[in-house]
Symmetry: C2
Subunit: 193 residues, 2 copies
Amino acid sequence: MVAPRQARAVPAGEAIYRAGAPGSAWRVAAGVVRLDSPDASGEAGFASLAVTGDIIGCETLLFGTYAFSAQALTHCQLSPWPGGCTAASGASLLHSFAQAQRRAADLVALRSGQAADRVLGLIRLLAGNTPAATAAEVVLPTRQDIADITALRFETVSRIIKGLERARVLQRIRVDGVHASRSFRVDFAGPGA
Amino acid sequence: MVAPRQARAVPAGEAIYRAGAPGSAWRVAAGVVRLDSPDASGEAGFASLAVTGDIIGCETLLFGTYAFSAQALTHCQLSPWPGGCTAASGASLLHSFAQAQRRAADLVALRSGQAADRVLGLIRLLAGNTPAATAAEVVLPTRQDIADITALRFETVSRIIKGLERARVLQRIRVDGVHASRSFRVDFAGPGA
DNA sequence: CGCATTTTTGATACACGTCAATCTCCGTGG
DNA sequence: CCACGGAGATTGACGTGTATCAAAAATGCG
């Protein structure tokens, strides 16, 4: 009888695992995870994104080691996967497969069209991620990470986000009188009334 | 006892299946398949790419219907999946999952960097696809399809491919004295010598 | 052989990249 | 409590890689 692996909490910005390292699969219970291809010789950098509900590190079930590097873009909550009973793993695997496919299609879509639409698309993706209770609030990754995901430059991302603020689509959330640069309240419809 | 589904041959440009339609999964035995998101209300168009060895339509095992539309970009050979024995489907599914992940990362990479590098990257992907015997020959999709995959315009793709021809990286293959606009011999090293 | 489709090529405009300076936030130590 | 410094974010000025619009040429199919 093997002791169950513990759930993990990872602060924003920290590495979760490295490509090539041994390990097992996780379910992203909360937060946003960035996956990177090992940039040794091939295509460098950003490879994929995982948000709440997604499974990461599935490939370890097959190879025993991670194919990508994972990094927390926001504070993350991870739980071991598959859960208790391995019996359900067949359907469960299939389910996360289908989900990964849809996620991949979303990512591809985040890299076409005008810059503003891409950033907005990503924000939409991340906002859909937030639990219902705080549906209209998002914690964004750094400008640089947003830029990597959308294939833009961080200066461009910065300008676009400022523009969305001016258009009242985004509104900074104040914490102790100081507004953090990554926490926003989102109102896709614009200033509403 | 169910009669085994037949293998399918699909000519270039033809639809393989439509999103929402019932059906089952296939293995791409040869050729290149384009997958599109149903563009009804959400993100339109290109979603993913499948080349020789990839599995398409996996989601039917879960939902019974296709999540994407599939279209042959080159002449395609399809075989039913999973193959004869369903016993191996667990590991087989896992394997094609891992493959799909890597493919998705490749696609994302095809949408960053300079236009010429993207097109070249796609050609590389497609050339790696060809069987070893004709390793240096590729049949490319239409300029428009290449443009959709790389998030460029077909005019830009046309200019780039012409440029690669002038640089002797691509060389048109003559068929009956007429050179087709999509069959090329590839020499990534340049004119060699 | 003729027509529809695809590809090529040119001229021009603009969205985004690039380079660089400044500013804010936040932790550290005097 | 404030000076200091680093990381991230903002803003400006300018250049350029692609998009865009348009027209002609090549290809392929009936």
